[in-house]
């Protein structure tokens, strides 16, 4: 027996060194996989919110905003969500990279696969209407509110813009009572240039709408174009009190995809 072998065997015996238990290594692998899967799920939820924000980015009002599509995109992209998605994509990659045998695969492909998986699952979550719930919940977190483009502000402050919830339908097309985001009551009337609302959208009590038009008196607004304030799966489309009239809770009522 060589000197080194002899010395190590003696050390093992004297210091009573024992191999670390198998569960220790199994647990580490399990934790890495759990962390990878959790990162992908968080990345997916994030992607569904990114989709939601991109759909509800007021593209259809861009002509009234005096912006080019590029500058509008620059102002309104949900940067914080994009950063979160990339971070969790990279975290998923980092965790996956440390699982057994992962080194056999090219690192770039692991990054691409983890991001594509997040996007694919995120697309499914979006279709199931998860995004508006997450988006609403995130708005209660100060950091999200600070870093996100403030749509409410735009629709309440820019001249000719108004957003709120229909509280009562009156007789005639495009005539209704509305409570705006700041809880002020309005009567909305159609302007002479009023554009018909798209077929998929029904003006009814509880629907959140955004209106481009003109304020004609202290509490009357003439509408040229009316669109749903938020679109996509999971959005409350009316038929009952909406989120403004129900303390933010109504999103849970009538929340089915219509």
């Amino acid at each position: 027996m060589s000197k080194i072998t002899d010395s190590i065997l003696n050390t093992i015996k004297q210091k009573k060194i024992a191999p670390k238990p198998r569960w220790h290594f199994i647990l580490r692998q399990v934790l890495l996989w759990v962390a990878s899967v959790a990162s992908i799920i968080i990345g997916s939820i994030t992607f569904s919110v990114i989709l939601f924000r991109l759909v509800n980015n007021d593209w259809e009002f861009i002509n009234y905003l005096d912006r080019t599509p590029l500058t509008h995109a620059f102002y309104t992209l949900p940067y914080i969500w994009i950063i979160i998605m990339l971070l969790f994509g990279l975290l998923a990659y980092y965790n996956a990279k440390h699982t057994k045998g992962a080194y056999k695969y090219n690192g770039y492909w692991l990054v691409i696969i983890s991001l594509i998986t997040s996007m694919a699952i995120g697309g499914i979550l979006y279709a199931f209407g998860i995004a508006p719930k997450v988006h609403m919940a995130s708005e209660k977190i100060p950091i999200f509110k600070d870093f996100m483009y403030d749509r409410d502000k735009l629709w309440m402050e820019k001249e000719g813009f108004l957003a709120g919830e229909i509280t009562e339908m009156l007789s005639g097309v495009g005539i209704f009572k509305l409570t705006d985001i700041n809880k002020k009551d309005w009567t909305v009337l159609p302007d002479e240039e009023f554009m018909p609302v798209p077929e998929f959208f029904i003006l009814e009590q509880g629907a959140m709408v955004k209106i481009f038009g003109e304020q004609v008196s202290d509490d009357t607004f003439k509408a040229i174009k009316i669109m749903p304030y938020e679109m996509g799966p999971g959005v409350h489309k009316g038929g009952g009190p909406g989120r403004l009239m129900n303390g933010g809770k109504s999103m849970q009522i009538n929340y089915l995809i219509k």
Partner: protein
């Protein structure tokens, strides 16, 4: 029990399982790898004998502590080389010195591989000796050197090198190809000087 006599007929994987039950069997594994790893450490680190021995002891203890982490689908030799590689790297980070040591005899060994290599064969002429090649190896970029050592001196295949360095086999292929290109350039330069 006569461990020394018995271990000759046992595979590495069998010895790992036995070592987990009785550390005496671990002696067989250490004896099997002692000289190979000492040589490998010397080649990739350039440590003196005493330091290399200390490092080897540390490596053997780490291997023993982590025996339960050994994946039976892997070759034990790849796993122990991987741990050695990692230990040398972390030792290198501590002492900030890492020189490669290839002697003339080993240079001859690499030379024989090069002669069979279509990418490099054209460069081999009478003036290139093992001694020259050991000098060439000393000038090869550090990031390529280890892959050359593993391939030509430790005689590991692509999959084993992939398991040792924890890099995809395709990356090992690329590294070797770049390493050869690097050697190509250095040999050309050396030839001019000769």
């Amino acid at each position: 029990m006569n461990f020394q006599g018995d271990c000759q007929n046992k595979t590495d994987n069998e010895l790992v399982k036995l070592s987990l039950k009785d550390p005496e069997w671990y002696g067989c594994l250490m004896q099997r790898y002692e000289s190979k790893l000492s040589r490998y450490i010397y080649r990739i680190s350039g440590l003196n004998t005493e330091d290399a021995e200390d490092l080897l002891q540390e490596i053997f203890l780490t291997v023993y502590r982590n025996l339960n982490d050994f994946d039976q689908d892997l070759k034990f030799s790849s796993w122990i080389y991987r741990i050695t590689h990692n230990k040398v790297i972390s030792h290198h980070r501590k002492v900030k010195a890492r020189a490669q040591q290839i002697n003339g005899e080993e240079g001859e060994k690499i030379l024989s591989f090069i002669k069979d290599d279509t990418d490099l064969a054209e460069l081999v002429n009478d003036r290139i000796t093992g001694e020259v090649l050991s000098r060439v190896m000393g000038k090869v970029d550090e990031k390529y050197r280890e892959v050359l050592i593993l391939r030509y001196l430790e005689e590991k295949d692509y999959n084993e090198i992939s398991d040792i360095l924890k890099k995809p086999p395709s990356t090992i292929g690329t590294l070797l190809s770049r390493a050869k290109k690097n050697m190509h350039e250095i040999i050309k330069k050396e030839n001019i000087k000769l």
